[in-house]
């Protein structure tokens, strides 16, 4: 592995006083040019891991090397090699977007004549040319995120850390950010360490995914590998007549293990794979049972999460939303 652009972590631990281990001995390896998706619910330890890898928080124990440098003992070298857009864009409401870029470039020691050129280039790339001279306090959430990304790229880092970069963004902004992150990795060979609680984001963007829960990595691999571990697809049907739900469930049970589903639907994990769908349809027809909706689902990363932790990540989202509303 080209040590200068990857991430290696061994037994990384972070304990907080009077609290549980936020990160509990994780091991991971991110190859140069790879997009690594770090997936997990709120409080799983994603952000704490990022803080340690970006030298903003010292590890309690374990070793982490970023761009070949030890985060605990070679902080300045690590910081020279990385860019980071953390969960809440740390922006000064009194400065404009352009002034932020100038400040960031100055902090990195970029000479004055290069600063403007680099700033203009990045403002154009993230689509903020028109808003460049407006104070950031008037920016929307999406604009702040885009500026934050531009700031992280000012010094042309080899490794980019993005901590939940699309949380709170509208679908259009999210898609634009995905495109840019993909471009950075594919065209500019930037290694990307991306935390997210969105399954789709990890699925679409990441070359490999690590699933973290309660401070421990519970699964790791490409999205395809992880889904293949779960293996079989499932089929879900909604009986036209609610009173026929049990009859439909009885037919489904011939084809595999019944899965939990909404009260008005029946779902089964197909023993024979996707090819068993035709048999299911024929069996329902044979019994004279009508269904209004029949859907074949390939395993998702949420299924992986459910399998590894016994909980659904989608459910966690709902809980979070409920908590936020409360």
């Amino acid at each position: 592995m080209a040590r200068d652009r990857g991430i290696e972590v061994e037994g990384l631990v972070r304990e907080f006083k009077k609290g549980p281990r936020a990160v509990d001995g994780i091991n991971l390896r991110v190859e140069p040019g790879e997009i690594y998706g770090f997936l997990g619910p709120n409080g799983a330890g994603k952000s704490t891991t990022v803080l340690m890898l970006t030298t903003l928080l010292p590890p309690t124990s374990g070793i982490a090397r970023v761009a070949g440098y030890n985060v605990a003992t070679e902080g300045p070298e690590v910081r020279a090699s990385i860019g980071a857009a953390l969960q809440e864009a740390a922006l000064d409401p009194f400065l404009t977007g352009r002034e932020h870029l100038n400040l960031q470039a100055a902090l990195h020691g970029i000479v004055r004549k290069e600063r403007k050129k680099r700033g203009d280039e990045l403002l154009e790339r993230v689509g903020l040319e028109e808003a460049a001279d407006r104070r950031v306090r008037g920016y929307s959430g999406g604009m702040k995120r885009r500026l934050d990304l531009a700031l992280a790229l000012v010094h042309r880092p080899q490794i980019l850390f993005l901590d939940e970069p699309t949380t709170g963004l509208d679908p259009q902004s999210r898609s634009a950010l995905w495109t840019e992150v993909g471009r950075l990795a594919n065209e500019e060979e930037v290694t990307v360490f991306l935390t997210t609680q969105y399954l789709e984001e990890a699925d679409v963007l990441a070359d490999r995914v690590g699933i973290i829960d309660r401070g421990r990595i519970v699964a790791e691999g490409t999205p395809e590998e992880l889904k293949a571990e779960i293996g079989r697809p499932s089929v879900e049907a909604t009986p036209v007549n609610r009173s026929e739900r049990d009859a439909v469930a009885k037919v489904f049970s011939r084809f595999g293990e019944e899965m939990s589903s909404r009260p008005d639907t029946v779902a089964v994990r197909l023993d024979s794979g996707a090819g068993g769908l035709a048999d299911v349809v024929r069996a329902l027809d044979g019994e004279g049972l009508k269904v209004s909706n029949l859907r074949l689902d390939e395993p998702s990363l949420d299924d992986v999460f459910l399998e590894k932790t016994g909980r659904s990540l989608e459910g966690e989202h709902d809980d979070d939303a409920d908590e936020a509303r409360a």
Binding site: L51, T54, P58, F94, E99, L103, Q104, L151, V190
Partner: protein
């Protein structure tokens, strides 16, 4: 070579790059946002209130300051302005930690000690403006300038007081990292400033306040500063020794605060 890794910046932000960048941002904000100028009004108020309202104190038997009461009050108002300027810089640092901006600085700075120097440089610029305002007001209200080149001694002491107060405030701000650091920074500085011969010379104070003022190291600095303005320097070496010692101690204090902020995950 890729666009990202190719053409890497010519230098990574070292100690002075970081310091200049941090100072530049602070100074820019100070001059472009009128709200940040408001604290400059406090020393003007103190000077007008004390020098204007208490001028007859200069006629009290035993008041032997040659440059007169306005000059006597000006020196305290100036030192108060520079010390509180340091405190206000501490508030800014605490605010940056509270709203998360400090994280950007910590992440981009190769040598994080440069952050402290940057805030300190900005504080000096800030109090230069405030000090100039107080001085202009004092001259307009009739303060004689009798110190000649000794005035540089007064300016030097004022700068050291500002740097010491800034470093003290920076240490508190980085230890607490919330806006609640404000009173913790302000209160000790206020006590030190007021438990000194503010309105009359030390020899005219009586009782416990005289004892406390005599023990207060700021009294030595204040007396020396007044001596510079009157053209009769006195106690210069002890005053400078105390000022440099305060700077050294509070520089270590600020570094301690920085290390604590790093450990806490700024």
């Amino acid at each position: 070579m890729s666009a990202a890794t190719g053409g890497r910046p010519k230098a990574f932000g070292g100690f002075f790059s970081v310091a200049w960048a941090v100072a530049g941002r602070q100074v820019y904000k100070y001059f472009t946002n009128p709200a940040f100028l408001a604290p400059a009004l406090f020393p003007l108020f103190f000077f007008v209130a004390f020098a204007g309202g208490l001028t007859s104190v200069g006629d009290v038997p035993g008041f032997d300051y040659a440059a007169g009461y306005i000059a006597f009050q000006f020196v305290w108002a100036l030192l108060q302005a520079v010390a509180m300027g340091g405190a206000f810089t501490g508030f800014s640092i605490a605010s940056d930690f509270e709203n998360g901006f400090a994280r950007r600085l910590m992440l981009a700075a190769s040598d994080r000690r440069g952050i402290i120097l940057g805030y300190t440089l900005a504080s000096i610029v800030r109090v230069t403006v405030t000090g100039t305002l107080v001085t202009v007001l004092a001259i307009l209200t009739g303060m004689p300038i009798s110190g000649g080149y000794d005035l540089f001694g007064l300016i030097g002491l004022a700068l050291l007081v500002n740097v010491a107060a800034t470093l003290f405030g920076a240490g508190i701000a980085m230890l607490m990292r919330t806006g609640q650091a404000g009173p913790v920074i302000r209160t000790p500085i206020f006590l030190v400033l007021f438990l000194a011969p503010v309105f009359v010379p030390l020899n005219l104070l009586e009782g416990w306040i005289q004892t406390v003022a005599r023990l207060n190291p700021f009294t030595t600095i204040l007396d020396a500063a007044r001596g510079f303005l009157a053209g009769a320097p006195t106690g210069v070496l002890p005053a400078y020794a105390i000022a440099f010692a305060l700077v050294a101690v509070f520089a270590l204090w600020a570094l301690y605060g920085l290390r604590r902020a790093e450990k806490a995950g700024s």
